[in-house]
């Protein structure tokens, strides 16, 4: 019995000892998305976190100590709970549990992106390969029509400047498979609902992975329409592969609500994500 008690006591002592290893109270806790997320590639490109070497290859300079998450909602929960955390999400996925920072003095909003003053913005694209089935073609035209763009605006994204008139669609049926970016997925689901209200015979299957997967699936025929929250990469181009912009989305740089900071410059964001700045106090 005594032996047992002493073992338990040692465990308690060890536990309290580890609490002395408490991390610095002010150090920035950086959270990033995984490498293949469109939001990540757009973010590092827009903030200058990637660099080009002499062969034209891009290197991602995001610091190694950054937490990696695969999921927008895990990102939101993690930032909401940690006063020292910083992260980024699609503006459309942003919610009130966290605070969006002003970048170079401009708060992210649909209006600011439209007039070009909020610069962390990237296109939402759909990718197709070759000739589409009539029902898929009708869906693409619907998205770019006035009706589809109204959905885009209602969901908090920036619609296209000039919506394209859709051709009159006859009786359609069949299944359209859509896969790709988790940032585009929420918008695509709303668009699919609006389309289904008009064409009950067409079923649209929207599944979520990431931009890279979406493009790859279109290229090898596993789905009809790919979603990408970034521009196509050179390595992804090919005969018949076509990208079409359907909306513009901002990237919100987010911090915990308890964080007193309200704005950062793009340069400061770059320094935080490359590890040059490690404490909030260093930002002045």
């Amino acid at each position: 019995m005594k032996k047992f008690l002493s073992i338990m006591a040692t465990a308690v002592v060890l536990l309290t000892a580890t609490s002395c290893a408490k991390g610095g109270g002010d150090s920035i806790y950086v959270i990033r998305r995984e490498e293949s997320a469109g939001t990540h590639s757009a973010f590092i490109e827009l903030c200058g976190i990637e660099s080009k070497d002499e062969n034209g290859n891009n290197t991602d300079n995001t610091l190694d100590a950054a937490e990696v998450t695969k999921d927008t909602s895990v990102m939101l929960i993690s930032v909401a709970g940690d006063p020292n955390a910083i992260g980024y999400v699609s503006l459309g996925s942003f919610n009130d549990s966290v605070k969006a920072l002003e970048i170079d003095g401009v708060a992210p909003s649909v209006a600011a992106i439209r007039e070009g003053s909020y610069t962390l913005a990237r296109p939402f694209n759909i990718v197709t390969n070759g000739t589409l089935a009539p029902e898929a073609q009708a869906f693409v035209e619907f998205i770019r029509s006035e009706e589809g763009q109204a959905v885009v605006e209602a969901q908090g994204y920036v619609p296209l400047e000039t919506p394209q008139p859709a051709a009159e669609a006859g009786n359609l049926s069949g299944t359209v498979k859509v896969n790709g970016s988790s940032s585009v997925t929420p918008l695509m689901e709303r668009l699919a609902e609006a389309f289904a209200a008009k064409h009950g015979q067409v079923q649209i299957d929207v599944s979520q992975s990431d931009s890279t997967m979406g493009v790859a699936d279109v290229r090898n025929g596993r789905c009809d329409i790919g979603m990408a929250s970034r521009a196509l990469k050179e390595s992804e181009a090919g005969p018949g592969v076509l990208e079409t912009q359907i909306a513009t989305d901002g990237i919100a740089v987010i911090v915990c609500k308890e964080n007193p900071r309200t704005q950062l410059t793009k340069e400061q964001v770059r320094k935080i994500y490359t590890g040059e700045t490690t404490a909030w106090a260093e930002l002045g």
């Binding site: 465990a11 609490s19 408490k22 610095g24 290197t59 100590a65 993690s78 709970g81």
Partner: protein, 285 residues
């Protein structure tokens, strides 16, 4: 005639059962062959030392060192054992020898319920409860410590149920003999019954280790997933399973092969654990 039919049925049934057993063996053999056949050339291409001993994992720069992930898996598993084994073992002893019948009746179904919960639920619990709690205590929310604690909770049902049946299987003479020699109830349980059940208890721990090494969904939500060597118990960590899940979706070429090779290393880990388990069982028999 009747005898002949019977023998015929006997043989047919034996073949059927043998075929069923073969499915199992075949699956394991196929996984083993596939993993090793695709992993060995990759490891040779990257270089065994660079792959197993390299501490930098930067697929886009062609650096494939999985040492941080191996260490990550080891740390997290050791932590899970440190948390899970004392609690699980004491619970098992309590359930087997101390609890009132009515208490045990409530506790036991709860333990089996714990075993049945999907790991994503544990992950979510870890993310919204454990992470903020540990952040307030230690300054870092997603860390080796959090992952260990969560895994420690997850391996509890395995440890409790296997240890409890081992404790119950100890012949009554052991306990009664100790009492007859003048030992108290507690002394008999801890110094006679528990040592007599040690091979079963060890088996429960090894099974728990197996679960902890292989766990993915829950760990990925609370560990931080940085592909670097953890500096302390409160820094973030990436396990081998997390490494595979995070990157398998989009990896191509050598990167993809390196992930399959990571899976092969994980497979070898599990093989070693099972080998240990059968050694323990063998000593018992």
């Amino acid at each position: 005639m009747q005898k002949f039919t019977r023998r015929y049925i006997e043989t047919a049934a034996r073949i059927l059962f043998f075929a069923a057993a073969c499915v199992c063996v075949l699956c394991v053999a196929l996984i083993c062959v596939y993993l090793l056949a695709s992993a060995l050339p990759t490891i040779a291409k990257i270089g065994p030392l660079a792959f197993l001993g390299g501490s930098r994992w930067h697929p886009s720069a062609g650096e494939f060192g999985i040492f941080p992930m191996m260490i990550g898996s080891l740390y997290v598993t050791a932590g899970a054992v440190a948390f899970g084994v004392p609690v699980g073992l004491l619970t098992a002893v309590y359930l087997a020898r101390f609890a009132k019948r009515r208490t045990a009746k409530v506790l036991r179904p709860l333990v089996s319920l714990m075993a049945g919960l999907p790991s994503i639920l544990y992950g979510f619990f870890g993310l919204v409860v454990l992470v903020p709690l540990l952040r307030n205590l230690f300054g870092a929310g997603k860390s080796v410590l959090t992952a260990s604690l969560l895994l420690g909770i997850m391996i509890l049902p395995t440890i409790i149920s296997v240890s409890e049946s081992a404790l119950r299987a100890v012949p009554a003479q052991h306990y009664e003999g100790a009492l007859a020699l003048g030992a108290s109830h507690e002394r008999s349980v801890f110094f006679v019954v528990l040592p007599a059940a040690r091979s079963g208890v060890m088996a429960s721990i090894v099974l728990g280790i197996g679960r902890a090494v292989g766990e993915t969904m829950a760990v990925i939500m609370v560990a931080g997933n940085q592909a670097t060597l953890p500096k302390s118990i409160v820094s973030g960590v990436r396990t081998m399973t997390a490494n595979i899940v995070l990157e398998m979706g989009y990896a191509t070429d050598l990167h993809r092969e390196a992930l399959i090779a990571t899976a092969a290393v994980l497979f070898v880990f599990i093989l070693l654990i099972n080998l240990l388990l059968s050694l323990l069982r063998g000593r018992n028999a």
